[in-house]
């Protein structure tokens, strides 16, 4: 692997807030992402793992500049070492930067799937590529001529994955690409992402599926209620002892093969966010100091945002 090239995507201290109307004309700012750091080097798959409602999809939308009008973004988003401005992202998205969207509602309902994946291109090479992708995803040729409403949940998912493979992307942002997919197709999709990474692209995999992330990603960033809590190589998730944040450990313990042990409580709502560590209210190690700003701390190959991390070792 080459070293010291700037990472394809680097995000530092990302904050996203929404302007909302309360009663009448009074407005409030609802901060949804508070402090997000993630870095995607060329040739690697980086997974952002977090629970539903933690703001993962907003991360993808912020990079692509497709947040709704009432959102405001602070922090740095660097692409190839340079700031990703609105103008720049408009030029790059759909071509160098592609999104595999989460919701099955992102397909055009009035367009047959084949044309949609080819983005309207009619040349023989695109058609051949499409056939190849369909074969690899175990989709029948007829599906090309069907409309999105005629497809099952898993088929729609495969179609959306296929759109990313048509071009030659340098950055793939996959937002929950696999729920509802059969395990063999999931593997296939992940192999495709790996192939893209091997060709030098960076892949940002946004998912709640920890097992999938552990299996396919190179690095994992654990994300909770709008903040990154821990960043480690995927291998660290092989054992509970190499994880440092209490939330990462709770996730590990909740995997069906590791005891399926839940912890009580739910993620705080953006409006009732605690000060300091967002996991504080559910954390067994919570102390007074946790309600202040928590700095990053190096832990061997990764870093963690927890002041009690040493005790956890």
């Amino acid at each position: 692997m080459e070293k010291k090239l700037p990472p394809i995507l680097e995000i530092r201290g990302l904050q996203i807030s929404f302007k909302q109307y309360e009663k009448g004309f009074s407005q409030t700012e609802l901060e949804v992402i508070r402090d997000l750091d993630v870095c995607v080097p060329a040739g690697e798959i980086v997974a952002v793992v977090g629970s539903s409602g933690s703001g993962k999809s907003l991360l993808a939308h912020a990079v692509l500049g497709i947040l709704p009008y009432n959102a405001s973004v602070k922090g740095e988003i660097l692409y190839d070492g340079e700031a990703l401005t609105e103008k720049r992202v408009k030029r790059l998205r759909g071509d160098e930067i592609v999104l595999v969207p989460q919701s099955t509602a992102y397909l055009d309902p009035l367009m047959k799937t084949g044309v949609q994946i080819r983005k309207g291109k009619k040349d023989a090479a695109s058609k051949e590529r499409l056939h190849q992708i369909f074969r690899e995803y175990e989709l029948k040729q007829e599906v090309e001529e069907q409309y999105p409403f005629e497809l099952s949940g898993g088929m729609t998912r495969r179609i959306m994955n296929a759109t990313a493979l048509m071009g030659h992307p340098r950055l793939v942002i996959a937002d929950e690409p696999t729920p509802g997919l059969h395990i063999s197709v999931t593997r296939r999709a992940m192999e495709h992402f790996r192939e893209l990474a091997d060709m030098g692209a960076g892949v940002l995999l946004i998912t709640h599926d920890l097992e999938l992330a552990v299996e396919t990603a190179d690095r994992i960033a654990v994300f909770y209620a709008g903040s990154t809590l821990e960043e480690v190589p995927a291998l660290a998730f092989q054992s509970c002892d190499t994880l440092h944040h209490p939330y990462s450990r709770a996730l590990w313990n909740a995997m069906p093969k590791h005891g399926f042990q839940p912890i009580p409580g739910t993620q705080p709502y953006a409006r009732e966010m605690p000060q300091g560590c967002p996991f504080g209210p559910r954390c067994p190690k919570y102390t007074q100091e946790c309600s202040e700003k928590i700095p990053w701390r190096q832990t061997g190959d990764g870093r963690v945002r927890c002041i009690h991390a040493e005790e956890a070792q």
């Binding site: 977090g50 709640h208 996730l251 909740a254 042990q261 839940p262 739910t266």
Partner: protein, 200 residues
């Protein structure tokens, strides 16, 4: 109670390909049956038939020997859907979702981790996992005997997933409910089900 599908075939419209072909399946009270199969094979369709939302093209779906579509009033077979955001009315507050159920006691919502304040919110103000808790509560009314769970936890993080399943398992055992569990996760099915059926 016993719910049976006997040689059912189904197509969504005439001349369309058959989604299900000669499928037989049964689930009894107290049993938790895992349903496994590739995507697009018709698992959700089978659940819809079992719940009586669709009539089979041929064959029959019987609940205690009577076609399930003939039941009037509260149906003892209830289904929880894969996408909770599509299973609630976006313009009504969440407490109305619970009112649609059959006498949902306050203890149940508490056990599911539903906070009182959420009941006053609209669906768009809750995350998928929070919505799904409401949908599960709604399906577990007093007269529910068999619960169909169609990929109810794929979109949830592991902690929420295990919270919900721990609750459901306890509830199913306590009330001797029958369950059909659709999932792609073998680990999950192994942990929850009393037997597993492969379709397709």
């Amino acid at each position: 109670m016993i719910l049976q599908a006997k040689n059912v075939s189904f197509q969504y419209k005439e001349n369309a390909p058959l989604v299900l072909q000669n499928i037989s399946f049964e689930v009894k009270e107290g049993e938790r049956v895992g349903l496994r199969g590739k995507s697009g094979i018709g698992k959700t369709t089978l659940c819809r038939l079992l719940a009586g939302y669709e009539k089979p093209h041929s064959g029959e779906v019987l609940l205690d020997g009577r076609p399930v579509t003939e039941y009037r009033g509260y149906c003892p077979v209830q289904m929880v859907w894969q996408h909770p955001e599509q299973a609630v009315n976006p313009r009504r507050r969440m407490y109305t979702v619970l009112e649609e159920g059959d006498g949902i006691p306050q203890e149940m919502t508490a056990k599911l981790g539903i906070e009182e304040a959420w009941k006053q919110r609209f669906p768009a103000e809750l995350s998928g996992g929070e919505l799904q808790r409401f949908c599960i509560a709604r399906a577990l009314g007093k007269r529910t005997r068999i619960l169909l769970a169609d990929e109810i936890s794929t979109m949830l993080d592991l902690i929420t997933q295990s919270q919900i399943w721990t609750f459901l398992l306890e509830e199913a055992k306590r009330r001797n409910l029958g369950m059909v569990v659709v999932s792609h996760s073998d680990d999950l099915l192994d942990r929850i089900c009393t037997r597993i059926v492969e379709i397709g």
